[in-house]
Amino acid sequence: MKIAIASGKGGTGKSFIATNLAYALSENLQVSLVDCDVEEPNAYLFLNPEFKEKKDITVKVPVIDNSKCTGCRLCSTHCEFHALITVKDKTYVFEDLCHGCGFCMRICPHGAIGEKDKIVGEFSYGFVGRMDFYMGKMKVGTELATPVIRYVKNQVKDRGVVIFDSPPGTSCPVVETIESCDFVVLVTEPSPFGLNDLKLAVETVRSLGLRFGVVENRAMEGVNIIKDYLNREDIPLLSEIPLDREIAEVYSHGKLAVREIPSYRDKFLKIYDEIVKRVEL
């Protein structure tokens, strides 16, 4: 089963939920954790995996053979991403803007465009006890997260429970992460910002036709801004994690709540039960 942990707003506790859930489940189940928040991957800081493999992630970008280029501009006028520019009879490539579509190579009548690998990130694979751990880390200065996420997702062995830690937001990197999952857990917090961003995230998962539920993090007694919305929209509340300075401090040290505060183990196992119930429906 594939479960994505996502949120519209950043910093609501995606990685907190993903790491604690994966760790609690790994005591009795085959679990993989996949960190797809490739711009800022954090899960490894909490799980300290033993890495077995690290590999560069590359994309293909064009290389111009200027001895063959006649400056006809066919490639540069057709590149929708403005990654090519022809000045006089020479063509230049802006590698960061390239989406790797290969159009320029196919269209060049002079065979002047070849391709080369450009490093856009790093893939790591390892173990946390019996848990499989996968991570993508985008190279700083690179623009596009999606190729890195796609590569990491393709490496994952589909066995047992696979938990994907998604990037925040609602744009393409999020869709790339969650689209093939059986269930999406949206993490939010009880504030007007949290609610607004949750609504956008709900719109995104609904447009993809995915099953989903919500975990309210930093919940406060008597504050019902999230719960009222979920009731109105008939969205299941999977769990509430209370606002608790102790958790924030445990987290700040890079430790896991389920390991430091025993009562949290059952709380996270129950989130999984709630998910299973809804996936099997």
Partner: protein
């Protein structure tokens, strides 16, 4: 005119709360919300929208089946596996490169601009405000970010405003790069947690990569005073300004947000407001020099 952009590697460290507070302190500045995935500033600003328009960040292919001979050329040239075996383009997977359109022998693939978001230009009690909304699942948020910043600059020039306060997006990718390129000064808000520090290092790396000057603010510093000190030391080592720290007082921040107020409007004497005022004084000096 100076543009100050506030970003954070890690999400949820308090960017928006901080920018709004600065908006209260530097009253009359132009405000720009570039966190187009999760734009929240409008919730506190209650903007009076003066102008809005659709934004198109790119094109998508659409196969008109009437003349399609199902030759398969489009599938062959698509690097994104966006065309199904029965010749339907998956709108999410299509990146709009136009290869299929060009190579289709029957010329039966349409290639149209798609609306990916909306831009809003407004007046607020704190000053002119530009924000945008990206349609969920859309790409090109980088282009939308550039659009918002350009509109803000236009307003600042027209109205003779001295400061633009821009709320950036989390991460280090395309929308962030679009938020900071050409900015006069970037403030990075972080928190004293292992993940906060990890993400801060990557953002500083990004600033140095693009040769942009900036400084660091630690929010919720008292959550972990040791890590907060570590960040101060880290800034000194890298030659990045350490601008100050804000205490963890979630009630003040939440109460302000629930009242649709900035923390300065909510209670100018609360600890969070005082800390931000101190930081703003340093920022004013930096912007004046």
């Amino acid at each position: 005119m100076k543009e100050l952009v506030v970003i954070s590697g890690k999400g949820g460290t308090g960017k928006t709360t901080f920018v709004l507070a600065l908006g209260s302190i530097f009253k009359g500045s132009v405000l720009a919300d570039c966190d187009v995935d999760a734009a929240d500033m409008f919730l506190v600003l209650n903007p009076e929208v003066k102008e809005s328009y659709d934004f198109s960040g790119g094109k998508k292919a659409f196969i008109d089946k009437t003349n399609c001979t199902e030759c398969g050329k489009c599938i062959e040239v698509c690097e994104y596996d966006a065309i199904s075996p029965d010749f339907v383009v998956d709108e999410v997977k299509c990146e709009g490169c136009g290869s299929c359109v060009y190579f289709c022998p029957e010329k039966t693939i349409e290639f149209n601009e798609v609306v990916s978001g909306k831009v809003f230009i407004s007046e607020t009690r704190l000053g002119p405000f530009v924000h945008a909304r990206l349609k969920p699942g859309m790409e090109n948020s980088g282009k939308l970010v550039s659009k918002v910043r350009n509109e803000a600059k236009k307003i600042a020039i027209e109205k003779g405003k001295e400061i633009i306060l821009t709320d950036g997006s989390p991460g280090v990718g395309c929308p962030v790069i679009s938020s900071i390129s050409g900015a006069d000064y970037v403030v990075v808000i972080t928190e004293p947690t292992v993940s906060g520090i990890h993400d801060l290092e990557r953002v500083i790396d990004l600033l140095q990569h693009f040769k942009i000057t900036g400084g660091v603010v630690v929010n919720k510093w008292d959550l972990n005073p040791d890590k907060s000190l570590e960040i101060e030391g880290f800034c000194e080592r890298l030659g990045v300004d350490f601008l100050g720290k804000i205490p963890y007082k979630i009630e003040d921040v939440l109460n302000a947000m629930n009242n649709s107020q900035t923390v300065i409007e909510y209670n100018p004497d609360c600890e969070v407001a005082k800390a931000i005022k101190n930081i703003s004084a340093r920022l004013r000096n930096i912007l004046n020099n």
